[in-house]
Amino acid sequence: MGLQAYLTLAAVVFCIGLFGVITRRNTIGILLGIELMLNSVNINLVAFSRFSGDVTGMIFTVFTICITVTEAALGLAIVILLFRIRRTVMADHLDLLKG
């Protein structure tokens, strides 16, 4: 399969992840959507790297995965902290910045 197929796959997964971020009420559900989006980015990177012959893309992917892990850990820590303070994990209750 050509490069375009892999890119298309990544684009579709990205948009599904975006849909999840927009519509999910639970904060952890939003985090799952973010994971999907980051995953699709990785697929993109590796596909480009393979089809152009440059290994840099794969190294980029290693870094991305590591940082994603860190971000997930921190995000969930924040969710737990948020729950302790506001007694809820529902994202639509967190509207203190309402104008």
């Binding site: 599904i16 639970n26 985090l31 799952l32 994971e35 995953n39 590591c66 850990a73 969930l76 729950f83």
Partner: protein
């Protein structure tokens, strides 16, 4: 259809299907499990692209680590809440419209011009090369990454410390 195409289509189906399941299931715990499946599918795609090291890393960190963390988080918050966390979604139509539009825009951009159909030649032992390159050309980002992860770890522990 050759083997590679077959594998691609199978993995694509798994990936897309589990992604849809992640965002659409009502039960959060099920969503996490579907995510695990999707991440495994991604690992398969990496294998298809000759990136064995990355496939391993993906399985270890993503499918293993992150899923575990999320499960723990769910358990903790569910316990604290004291009930089953249910999922109801809102603004499905608007979100779907935006996502589909974006997907269409991206896909049409990708298919605008013909891109590479044949893989470029690459070395056999990619793992070796990745290791070498990280330690030589990208050693600085590597060290900074370690620092970043340390900082993240410490702050996560600090955030989630028991109240006293």
């Amino acid at each position: 259809m050759n083997g590679e195409a077959l594998a691609f289509w199978a993995l694509a189906t798994v990936l897309v299907g589990s992604a849809l399941a992640v965002v659409l299931t009502k039960n959060l715990f099920h969503a996490v499990l579907w995510l695990a499946l999707g991440l495994t599918g991604t690992a398969g795609v990496f294998l298809l692209l000759d990136a064995e090291f990355l496939a391993a890393v993906q399985l270890l960190l993503y499918a293993g680590g992150i899923v575990t963390i999320v499960v723990f988080a769910i358990v903790v918050t569910e316990r604290l809440v004291g009930e089953r966390l249910s999922q109801t979604s809102r603004h499905l139509a608007a979100g779907a419209a935006a996502s589909i539009a974006l997907a269409w825009a991206l896909v049409s951009a990708v298919w605008q011009r013909p891109l590479a159909l044949v893989r470029a030649p690459m070395a056999e032992d990619l793992t070796q090369i990745i290791g070498d390159t990280v330690q030589t050309r990208f050693v600085l980002p590597f060290e900074l990454l370690a620092l970043l992860m340390l900082a993240g770890l410490m702050s996560a522990i600090y955030f989630a410390r028991p109240e006293d």
